[in-house]
Homo-oligomer: 197 residues x 2
């Protein structure tokens, strides 16, 4: 009877082909986002592998260095914001709630993007501008006609809220981010991730 | 006749006692602020010594490491804001103009302070909080009674403008900072240093 019994999920080798590789990659990005949110961008990569339930070799196969995994987290963040904006009937407030959730989770990245703004490396600047343009396009699609703010104003407002969203814990960063939107007089829907929907 | 002629200022040895030491220290802080504003916080310290017109030995005598000179620049920035607020009849707009000048000059520091907000090192956090409290106290003194914003709101607004004041040049950072104050509906006087008065 035991001959047909499948190997329990947790006993299988971590990498078993393209499907498992995609699964591992996704798990590593989720783990990196959580670890960076709490410990900052210089968190040990071994903590990310452990949280994702894979060996460090698997991590390095997907992401050769820290910059590569940080870039993958930012790319997923932008994709989730685009996803939230693409929902039928998405309101500006709801999409800004998702943007704000990412800001409070990814405070570690804000210093990085600031540094990119000062950076001589044209490729880093171009990449950071491209991500920012994608967020701008997503917001433009749910900006009601005749809104007092232009899409450029909204992008500036997001940078402003990023500046406010500091603090040692995600909770404190969310409290400050929400207060910042209030100072700007901009209504922001529930602060939450888009995946949770 | 030439026996009484003083040695030209620029030919004198750089360090000639307590007065010259204070002069060198001040010149190094000014030079560091200018170099950091253009090249970022990882600018070579040799460029700072050269700009200040002193040898690297003099720099290291005053500032044992990069953190020490960065801290001295921030300390002087805060002191200038306090000075602007202490002027008789100082308006909130005028003091915020000085705050904004420092934000556009010291963009390199903003990432640093962001990192401090995430930082585990209690001494860095305490020091950054103390500087922030001094700016808060200076602003409180020129906040008109019944202003729509509390002193805490103003400090949050300053953090927000810091988030917006990014870009490769001080000019671009000033343009964005001024636009950010406008979004907040807060009037800000001329953007300038306090020493220039």
């Amino acid at each position: 009877m035991t001959t047909q019994q499948p190997v329990p999920e947790e006993r299988r080798p971590a990498n078993r082909g393209p499907k498992a590789a995609a699964h591992n990659r996704a798990a590593l990005i989720t783990a990196a986002r959580e670890i960076f949110a709490v410990q900052g961008l210089d968190a040990p990569l071994s903590a990310i592998a452990r949280r994702a339930g894979v060996g460090q070799g698997v991590l390095y196969r997907h992401f050769p260095d820290r910059e590569a995994i940080a870039a993958a987290v930012l790319e997923r963040n932008v994709r989730e914001i685009e996803g939230a904006a693409a929902v039928t009937g998405a309101t500006l407030a709801a999409v800004l709630g998702v943007v704000t959730w990412h800001q409070t989770q990814s405070a570690a990245f804000i210093g990085l993007l600031h540094a990119a703004g000062m950076n001589d490396r044209a490729d880093t600047r171009a990449w950071s501008r491209k991500l920012s343009e994608r967020v701008g396009n997503a917001l433009r699609n749910c900006l009601p006609a005749g809104h007092r703010l232009s899409a450029d104003d909204l992008m500036l407002a997001i940078a402003m809220v990023s500046g406010a969203a500091t603090g040692p814990t995600p909770q404190e960063r969310e409290r400050r981010a929400v207060a910042a939107w209030r100072l700007l007089g901009i209504t922001v829907g529930p602060v939450r991730s888009f995946e949770d929907e």
